[in-house]
Amino acid sequence: MADNGKKDEALDLLLPWYVNGTLKDDERRDVEAYLERSSHARDEVELLRALRQQVKDEAIESSPGELGLQRLKRQMKAEAPQPATSDRMAGRTITVASFWRPLAVAACLVVMIQAGVMVGLGGFGTTDSELDIATGGSPAVLQVTFAPDATEQQIRDVLQEAGASIAEGPTALGVYGLRLVDAGASVDEALATLRASGDVVTFAERN
């Protein structure tokens, strides 16, 4: 009797895997015999089947999908090892780099001079927003997607609360780039605010 009780306890432990259909043949036969003789075991199996069905049917939000893949690719690219070069090639690379360096410096100077001219023009009556566009504005530091049913008012409230504005987008995947209104503000704090926005923001991460 005691042996039977102990054996039944061991069989009780197998019931969830009888329900999911993954027991080995000998275990399955033992459980089936147990079910024949025990109403307790049959009740347990019925309960476990109901629980399994609910776990399978539970709806959760969509996984990140293609957005997550794009994020992964950016990380893979950022941490990709530099291509190995032979000594001869490395020497040539230095030569080419040496050739391009003065040109790159000159190009930067041209850009700086142009920007200076535009800023100077701004001092003669150009509005802040025009100046912003002329210089390209701050770069997007965050990426977000919004819920398809989010209203313009909800999006505006979230952006204002996070101290952010739309810098670019949407992309084909519906991703917007955000810049911080106060360039010195904390990106992490803005990110946390966006992520805490309930159902309005469905994805948010650093750019």
Binding site: T22, L47, A50, Q54, K73
Partner: protein
């Protein structure tokens, strides 16, 4: 993929991302955290694909990485953020299966009770009932003996029954 083939990684990501995310999400109640952990898992797969020795199935390997990454994330969280059922308390005076069957057929009640399980119990419930994995494979994923998987499932079931019975008595629907 072990040779750095990015298109192979794309295919791998698309094949496993949904399952891995769902497993992580079953343990974390925050979709942003779950997306972060998914990214960490996939990046580790990318970096360590060459170390996969084929001793287990690919899904066991990747779900094992997901399990450990999720545990790391939970440990970094502030204590007290998640209240879990104490399995010892939950096991006292456990109702019988027939009495809790009707509550177990209510999706919302089951979800509420599963959410209150400890991380270890939720993992086993998810892997056994959503993934339909044998206990041996679950043991490989969560890194414990097969006997421990069986007893965790047993305690999880008792805790769920106790929780469902409690909701039923309170008239929660």
């Amino acid at each position: 993929m072990a040779g750095g083939d990015q298109s192979a990684m794309d295919a791998f990501y698309r094949a496993y991302e949904g399952r891995v995310y769902r497993f992580i999400r079953s343990k974390l109640n925050d979709s942003f955290d779950a997306a972060d952990v998914l990214n960490e898992v996939m990046f580790e797969v990318w970096r360590n694909a060459g170390r996969f020795e084929g001793r287990s199935s690919v899904s066991t390997w990747v779900l094992g990485i997901a399990h450990h990454k999720t545990i790391d994330r939970i440990r970094r969280r502030k204590p007290g953020e998640h209240v879990e059922l104490d399995p010892e308390i939950a096991e006292d005076d456990t109702p019988n299966a027939a009495a809790t069957l009707s509550a177990a057929q209510d999706a919302e009640q089951v979800r509420r009770c599963v959410d209150q399980l400890s991380e270890a119990h939720r993992s086993v419930v998810h892997l056994a009932f959503f993934e339909d994995l044998p206990y041996g494979e679950i043991a490989g994923i969560v890194g414990c003996p097969e006997g421990t998987v069986k007893t965790r499932m047993f305690h999880a079931k008792k805790a769920l029954m106790k929780c469902l019975q409690g909701l039923k008595e309170m008239g929660v629907s």
